[in-house]
């Protein structure tokens, strides 16, 4: 039974889950999307614990609101939209918390200390350090640009899919990706020596 379901497409699996409430279909979809969603949310929020909670919440929302999915949309864009919205809510919550508490832990302030540090070429060449720097720079990019850059350049989604997830026109998506990349490149100029 599970082997048969494994061969099905995402849209067929959710149809099975909607019609017959097949929990195996739901589990297969969770298995397929847990890693890409975790990667997307981690790059967007920058916190491992929060990222796990958000992806869990995404899957619970998917379980509870399975009937709100309409068959004309792609399942991937639907589930990415849920995860993206939850991630944005988390960022808003953090901003409120840092606004209320003066000495609050504002995650977006941390990279500023890193930027002022001198990074030797040897250190920059180190892959793990480099990815850490890129991640911190990514968190400094405006969320509206950050989301589309992650979806395009890290998650390798098409412009059409990103337009569906963000509910924007393709032109807006492209311009936002361009602006996001420009911002990111400015932040990473120490690495790219522009």
């Amino acid at each position: 039974m599970i082997n048969d379901l494994d061969k099905l497409k995402d849209e067929e699996l959710i149809k099975e889950f909607q019609d017959n409430n097949t929990l195996d279909a739901y589990e297969i979809l969770v298995k397929r999307y847990k890693d890409p969603l975790t990667n997307f949310v981690f790059r967007f929020v920058g916190d491992r614990d929060a990222c796990t909670d958000i992806v869990q919440d995404t899957m619970i929302k998917f379980y509870l609101n399975k009937d709100s999915y309409k068959s004309f949309a792609k399942f991937s864009t639907w589930i990415y939209t849920i995860a993206g919205n939850l991630a944005k809510n988390e960022l808003k919550r953090r901003r409120r918390r840092s606004f209320i508490s003066v000495s609050g832990d504002d995650d977006e302030r941390t990279p500023q200390i890193e930027d002022k540090m001198y990074i030797s070429p040897e250190r920059a060449a180190d892959n793990s350090i480099k990815s850490e720097i890129i991640q911190k720079a990514l968190l400094k990019v405006k969320p509206v640009y950050r989301e589309v850059v992650i979806l395009r350049d890290i998650e390798n989604l098409s412009y059409e899919e990103i337009a569906d997830i963000t509910e924007l026109s393709i032109g807006t998506v492209k311009s936002r990706i361009n602006r996001g990349r420009t911002q990111l490149q400015k932040l990473l100029k120490k690495i790219y020596h522009e």
């Binding site: 589990e27 969770v30 847990k34 491992r48 992806v55 890290i154 492209k174 990349r181 490149q185």
Partner: protein, 221 residues
């Protein structure tokens, strides 16, 4: 358009490659187990409740409560009615002093007479017109003046003109501010009734009367 897009991608080639090379972050091994546990235990209902949005109304209720209590305090306890009594300007209370004296010492007939009920004040006023017992003169004059010690004024200030304003509750105001008896607009010298001086005054008055009678008789003759 596609050419421009290609140029844009070429411009950010290094950046795009670095972003693609970022290590993939995967979900934890127990992700599905935790998720299924949450679903089976129905914990998602609690998590739904946690997501509360920020609202001004959250602060509005306690603010309204505090302001209501403050208004009620002002209404119930009007602070402007509190009287400030200068202890230096206070006169000793004769009634209270006598009460305490009576409670501790042997009863003094003169002091006992001083404690008179307000209803008996009118009778005492009538008695004051006749002069009989020397003690009665002093007693009646004392009882006629129901003074409120709170209404005192500083004579020095009044004479020197330092006191320009005059409060409603001060002695001499015709409106007695809700008191039963209005103040006496004269100077008051409190004296203990002296039987010897009273007898002396009576003797003087008697001698004057006799002298008047004699002169009237001699005129008549």
């Amino acid at each position: 358009m596609n050419k421009n897009l290609y140029n844009e991608d070429a411009k950010f080639k290094n950046l795009i490659n670095d972003l693609k090379d970022l290590p993939k972050v995967n979900a934890s091994d127990d992700f599905e187990f935790k998720l299924m546990m949450k679903i089976q235990n129905g914990q998602f209902a609690k998590e739904e409740k946690k997501e509360r949005t920020f609202s001004v109304f959250k602060f509005l209720a306690p603010a309204l409560g505090i302001s209501f209590v403050a208004i009620m305090l002002f209404v119930l306890f009007p602070f402007n009615n509190l009287e400030e009594i200068d202890p230096l300007m206070q006169e000793p209370l004769p009634y209270q002093a006598n009460i305490s004296k009576n409670a501790t010492s042997i009863p003094n007939p003169i002091n006992e007479e001083k404690i008179i009920e307000p209803s008996a004040a009118k009778e005492a006023t009538k008695k004051s017109s006749t002069v009989g017992d020397p003690n009665q003169v002093a007693q009646s004059s004392f009882n006629q003046i129901p003074l409120n010690p709170r209404n005192n004024i500083n004579l020095d200030d009044v004479i020197s003109g330092n006191k320009k304003t005059r409060g409603n509750l001060e002695r001499g105001s015709l409106v007695s501010s809700g008191q039963d008896q209005f103040g006496f607009n004269e100077f008051l010298v409190l004296e203990q009734p002296d039987s010897a001086s009273a007898a002396r005054h009576k003797a003087i008055q008697d001698s004057i009367k006799e002298a008047r009678k004699k002169t009237s008789k001699s005129k008549a003759k």
